[in-house]
């Protein structure tokens, strides 16, 4: 028989242990299931342990302190009673549980933030202000002491900028001297003279590239000093800011132009004239990636590449604004004006001032550190204030006097260092407690290797945020676009002036002897008329009703006198 040649597999008795790809698969499965098994094991252990104890003892789960839980909580959840169908309700319930779990877990992982930022503490009768850099340097460990250094340079007032991970530094002298180096190891990447005036320098998303705003145009160099690009569209740039999540190099020019250059695709996203004259005070709000400009009329304006009008304008001072800075969490904005005022604003609510200070001299530079310390620079002095946002400070935390006027300074991220560039060089100051002590290396890694940098670059590119999303409130993307009344009105206005669309009327192929061309034309007219009427009716219905519900007054009837009178 032919049937006997067919080989029969015994399906019921398959090998229990898979191999190869299936083995891998099962391993994964086991890994997932592993949690369950692990739990069971622990449970069993517990039960065993439990036998030794009296059963009545109620065991308490370790409760996280409420403050830490609140810190990570995501707010109120979905009102489950207002969700369609039981199944979806259950699903959403589970999701809510997950969210809660995530919040708790991240509160628990706070245990891992072991590092604590220290700060100077003065004895009785002493103030922290009296500690000079030398005394600080003498009393700290050698690695920290190495972070305090001074570069004496001769090419005019310098500007400096750190990378986002705080490892590298680029400086640019007015007289054309540009240098990039790893400031911790003091390893020089490149040093060139661009033979033009340099107005500002800025790193791009990685330390291998930096932009230099020169006399006419912006140039981009790599870390060997090789000129990669010359961006002629950005001309006469006075200040630059790099928006790392959007890959935008934003610049303001002396002619009042703002421009955003997408570094990842090399395109100019937007460029327009602000019509506010010369722009020289620029900073970014790291929370929402808006640019903050300071103007001579005491106004701080916030800009995005999406509109040609500012997103918001705040009248901060009654005198020209000298400096603006926003802290890294986007909570506070500090502004200083030429009338010696220094104000701290709540930049999320656009309210304030939270604090108002009067200085002895008008501050020309401001910089927030990661721990919300504020460095204030005027003339040749830089002062650091510790809690000037939340409470009214009186005395500076630290003060340093230079021999030359300060041109700009930045706090180094993740280090207790303030890098000050002056007219004749660069100085790195130690400011204990200014940096964030706990580094999230997934975000930025100061100890990045080459491969890690590449990996991070790719990831950052994948996570790139579109420039369209730069608004005052970055969470707007998670909101439903409920058309506001204004939008509705606008739409209706447009409707008013809309012409009824013309009907294209193609007659059917008429049978022989059924109506001539006259009839056809008539039909066409009728149909077109009808369509027009319908359209007009439709628009009428949409238009706002003007007292439609007005009650028509009845004509007076003789017998109405017997009706009960209305009491009013």
């Amino acid at each position: 028989m032919k049937a006997s040649t067919v080989i029969e597999f015994d399906v019921t008795n398959i090998k229990t242990k898979p191999w190869g790809r299936r083995q891998e698969d099962q391993r994964k499965q086991k890994f997932r299931k592993g949690k369950v098994q692990k739990k069971k094991i622990i449970k069993n252990k517990k039960q065993i342990y439990n036998t030794n104890k009296p059963k009545d003892v109620t065991k308490k789960r370790y409760e996280m302190p409420k403050e830490t839980l609140d810190k990570y909580s995501r707010g109120e959840g979905v009102n489950i009673s207002k969700v369609h169908t039981k199944i979806h309700r259950k699903k959403i319930e589970k999701k809510e549980d997950n969210i809660k779990f995530a919040a708790e877990l991240s509160a628990k992982t706070e245990v891992l933030l072991t590092e604590d930022s220290g700060y100077l503490e003065a004895d009785v009768g002493e103030t922290t202000t009296q500690f000079t850099q030398k005394t600080i340097k003498d009393s700290v460990d050698i690695t920290s002491a190495a972070k305090q250094f001074e570069l004496k340079l001769e090419f005019g007032p310098y500007r400096s900028r750190y990378t986002r991970n705080g490892r590298h530094l680029v400086i640019g002298g007015k007289k054309g001297h540009v240098a990039a180096f790893d400031w911790i190891t003091k390893r020089l990447h490149c040093e060139i003279n661009v033979m033009e005036s340099v107005h500002d320098v800025s790193f791009l998303h990685v330390e291998t590239m930096f932009a230099v705003a020169q006399k006419d145009w912006v140039y981009i160099y790599d870390n060997q000093g090789i000129e990669l690009h010359c961006v002629k569209k950005l001309n006469k740039v006075s200040r630059m800011e790099f928006l790392p999540y959007h890959f935008l190099l934003s610049t303001c020019s002396e002619e009042g132009y703002l421009s955003w250059l997408d570094v990842s695709i090399g395109q100019l996203i937007s460029q327009y004239n602000t019509n506010l004259g010369r722009l020289s005070v620029l900073t970014q709000n790291p929370w929402n990636a808006c640019l903050c400009l300071g103007h001579a009329k005491g106004v701080v304006s916030m800009w995005s590449p999406n509109t040609r009008e500012p997103l918001a304008k705040m009248l901060c001072h009654k005198a020209p604004i000298m400096a603006v800075d926003v802290d890294s969490t986007g909570m506070y904005m500090s502004t200083s004006a030429s009338n010696r005022e220094l104000k701290i604003w709540d930049v999320r609510k656009l309210e304030g001032p939270v604090q108002e200070y009067k200085l002895i001299n008008s501050a020309t530079n401001l910089a927030f550190s990661q721990s919300k310390m504020l460095a204030v620079g005027f003339g040749n002095i830089v002062e650091v204030y510790k809690d000037c946002c939340t409470s009214a400070e009186k005395r500076p935390y630290l003060r340093h006097r230079f021999n030359n006027p300060i041109s700009n300074f930045n706090f180094c991220p993740f280090e207790d260092v303030l890098g000050v560039s002056t007219a004749k060089g660069f100085t790195s100051l130690l400011v204990p407690g200014s940096g964030e002590p706990n580094i999230d290396t997934l975000e930025v890694n100061p100890f990045q290797s080459k491969s890690q940098r590449r990996e991070a670059e790719v990831k950052a590119l994948l996570d790139k945020v579109q420039p369209d999303l730069i608004t005052l409130d970055p969470t707007i993307i998670a909101e439903v676009d409920v058309p506001s009344l204004r939008d509705k009105v606008e739409a209706k206005k447009k409707l008013l002036y809309l012409k009824p669309p013309k009907m294209s009327y193609a007659p059917r192929n008429k049978a022989k002897g059924k109506g001539g061309s006259v009839q056809l034309a008539k039909n066409k007219k009728i149909i077109q008329e009808q369509a027009k009427k319908e359209f007009i009716q439709a628009t009428k219905n949409i238009l706002p009703e003007v007292q439609k519900n007005k009650v028509k007054s009845k004509p007076y009837n003789v017998l109405d006198r017997f009706l009960p009178k209305n009491k009013k």
Partner: protein
């Protein structure tokens, strides 16, 4: 006769054939064709169904069973058969006509549907639970899981370990233990099934009982009859009285407490102003008021009094508000005034504030020392009043109010304090439970009924004690200490005074004089009561003042002079020139910049305002021609489209801020415009996407939980369809 002869036929004359013909013809008149019944002539096994045209059984049938059974009438051996037939006859029913095919099919379908529906319904719970599951793994093999567990059981003894010392120590610390899963799974079922069922039964009974009662109560509440309610109330009161009497016999102390409770309830009721004009006195006056001027006057006075009592507190509060407002305006003027700013009151103010804070805390702690402290602070206040900023001004003024009030009623407060001591003693001894009081009692009637009886009883009981007191009174020495026991038995705290006046009518011989005295006192008390009430309202204000926390006030927004150093390298200009320039700038600083800004803002707002649209066309609907002057355009209202008013801007009340509200146009393209299905409201949908799930935002474990695939299958395994063995419920029919 000829007519008759026509109808007379003899049988002979009738021809058979013609007769049948005639019959047929006659029948044909009906025009209904009668089919001839087929007649069986030969025995066949097959009976055609088409021949069963007329009923076989019944009256119309050819063969009638009854006729057939008539034969059996008198035959003894056929009795059984006959009985059978009789019984069958009784039961027999003609079967209904079989339904037509579509109908019968429909019915059979519906029956089949019902049966299958039951079969499928069994799956419903299973299906919903599966669908609701966020994560499922296929193939589902429960057997394997069991196996795993069995394996673990085998391993279990290996997991036994001796505890290290550290572990033992850790076990002692019980607070920080994590419990994973339910440890006491065995204890979760402490009852047997029977017990559980019994318990459930009982619970159900209880619930039913409760619902019956509720329904009854609801029904009764709906009854509008006053009489019914009156009867009900009286019944209740009677019952309460009974209870009370019993209590009196068994536990007089408890009874006293209860009495007091009743008293208190009554007082509260009285206090609630519900019975403002329902008293006997007021009623009488009202009747008389029609004719009597004086009674009208008295009534109006009474009304005014009540009004005063109820409105006094508000007045004072509003006063304080006014003062606050004044303070604000003052401070506003101060704020921008450079002259006052130069005085630098900082230190003094700080000192004062700290002093006040101290005072405030002390005031909270010891209310007795209040007066002295306030007077002290008030003295200080006057010194600083000019310099102090707004909030402090407020405080000062409020304090003054307090002190004034206290000066106004010094005597009262003294009296009150004395009385307070007394009452305190009384209340301490009695320990009135205010909270337990039930306001539902119809206290008034109840009270009126029982009060006289009880009081008498209590009096009689305490007569022994009171005799001594009476003696004392005859000497007219009112020593309060001796009176104490008497007071306990008679007087009720505070609000009962009014009631005591009523008692006048039920004079008892024994306690007469004392009663009179107490009545006079009570009268005084009542007279003072007005003031007392005033005092109380003041007290309230005092409290509110006491509750003001100085730390809650906004800090004054004067810029703080920072202790910064002067830079030595000012390269720009001469310092003198600079200062002069600064001074000039400061002098003229605000007007220009602020005005400009407000103008700009106004412009911005005007731009966004929606305006009405005028669709009138010139010349439309009006005559034209020589001699007709075109009149001014008649504005037809129906051509003017009004736009609804726009929402308030985000920067509406923020003076120095302009927010561009059109800036979000580009983001809107990326926003969700419609709420997706399971959600009903925007808020809920937004809440559902509020939390990030990415690796960079949440811990790894949470990330894995968030991003678990909905369905996981194992490669190379057969996923069997589910069988009914998965179902929990009873198998269907």
């Amino acid at each position: 006769m000829s007519d008759a002869s026509d109808f007379n036929y003899s049988d002979d004359e009738i021809d058979d054939k013609s007769h049948t013909k005639i019959v047929e013809n006659v029948l044909n008149i009906n025009k209904t064709r009668h089919l001839k019944r087929p007649v069986r002539t030969e025995p066949t096994s097959h009976v055609s169904e088409f021949n069963l045209v007329k009923p076989i059984a019944g009256k119309l049938a050819n063969i009638q069973l009854e006729k057939l059974t008539r034969v059996l009438k008198n035959k003894k051996n056929c009795v059984n058969l006959k009985e059978k037939f009789e019984s069958a006859k009784k039961k027999a029913r003609t079967l209904p006509k079989p339904l037509e095919k579509p109908q019968s099919e429909k019915i059979s379908r519906s029956v089949a549907y019902e049966r299958n529906r039951f079969l499928f319904d069994r799956w419903e719970a299973f299906v919903t639970s599966n669908r609701a599951e966020a994560h499922r793994v296929f193939p589902v093999n429960n057997v394997e899981k069991l196996k795993v567990q069995a394996k673990e059981v085998e391993k279990l003894p290996q997991m036994w370990t001796f505890k290290s010392d550290l572990e033992k120590k850790l076990d002692k610390l019980e607070t920080e233990e994590y419990i994973i899963g339910n440890v006491n799974e065995e204890n979760t079922y402490p009852l047997t099934l029977k017990e559980l069922k019994e318990k459930r039964k009982e619970a159900a009974k209880m619930r039913a009982h409760q619902s019956f009662k509720e329904a009854k109560a609801r029904r009764q509440n709906k009854i509008k009859s006053k009489k019914f309610h009156r009867i009900l109330r009286k019944e209740k009161i009677k019952q309460k009285l009974k209870e009370f009497e019993e209590l009196q016999k068994t536990d007089p102390e408890q009874a006293l407490v209860k009495l007091e409770e009743i008293e208190k309830a009554r007082a509260l009721e009285r206090f609630s102003l519900r019975h403002k004009s329902t008293g006997q006195w007021a009623m009488n006056k009202q009747i008389r008021a029609k004719y009597d001027k004086e009674s009208r006057k008295v009534l109006s006075q009474q009304l005014q009094l009540s009004r005063e009592l109820t409105q006094k507190s508000k007045q004072i509060e509003s006063d304080s508000d006014f003062e606050e407002a004044q303070g604000e305006t003052l401070s506003l003027t101060n704020h921008d005034n450079p002259w006052i700013g130069g005085l630098q009151p900082n230190k003094e103010v700080c000192d004062f504030v700290s002093g006040y804070r101290k005072f405030w805390s002390e005031q909270k702690a010891k209310s007795e020392e209040q007066n002295d402290l306030i007077s002290n602070t008030v003295d200080e206040d006057f010194k600083f009043q000019l310099d102090v900023d707004q909030p402090i001004n407020d405080i000062v003024e409020q304090q003054q109010v307090v002190s004034n009030q206290q000066q106004e009623f010094p005597d009262i407060s003294k009296k009150k304090s004395k009385k307070c001591v007394d009452y305190n003693i009384i209340t301490k001894e009695k320990q009135v439970n205010v909270n337990n009081m039930s306001g539902d009692w119809d206290v008034d009637e109840f009270f009126e009924n029982i009060e006289t009886k009880i009081k008498k009883k209590v009096h009689n009981k305490s007569k022994n004690d009171s005799k001594k007191v009476v003696k004392l009174k005859s000497k007219k020495n009112l020593k309060e200490k001796n009176l104490k026991p008497k007071k306990i038995s008679l007087d009720m705290p505070i609000q009962s005074k009014k009631h005591v006046i009523d008692e006048e009518l039920n004079e008892t011989s024994g306690v007469n004089k004392k009663e009179n005295n107490s009545n006079i006192e009570n009268l005084k008390n009542i007279l003072n009561g007005v003031k007392d009430a005033n005092n109380k309202t003041n007290g309230k204000i005092k409290n509110t003042i006491g509750d003001i926390d100085p730390t809650e006030f906004m800090k004054p927004k004067t810029p703080i002079e920072l202790d910064s150093a002067l830079p030595d390298l000012v390269l720009e200009e001469d310092p003198e020139q600079d200062t002069q320039k600064n001074i000039i700038m400061e002098a003229f600083e605000d007007d220009d910049v602020v005005q400009d800004f407000t103008k700009e803002k106004k412009h911005e707002i005007d731009k966004d305002m929606s305006q009405t649209i005028d669709l009138n066309l010139p010349g439309w609907g009006s005559w034209a021609g020589t001699g007709i002057h075109p009149r001014k355009q008649k504005r037809r209202r129906r051509f003017i489209v009004k736009m609804p008013e726009v929402l308030p801007r985000r920067d509406d009340n923020k003076g120095t801020l302009i927010i561009n509200e059109k800036a979000t146009a580009k983001v809107k393209l990326h926003q969700v415009t419609e709420i997706p299905f399971p959600f009903k409201s925007v808020i809920d949908y937004e809440a559902s996407i509020r939390a990030p799930i990415g690796k960079t935002f949440v811990p790894e474990l949470a990330f894995r939980k968030f991003t678990r695939p909905a369905v996981q299958t194992r490669m190379g395994t057969i996923i069997e369809p589910v069988t009914t063995s998965q179902l929990m419920g009873k198998p269907g029919n």
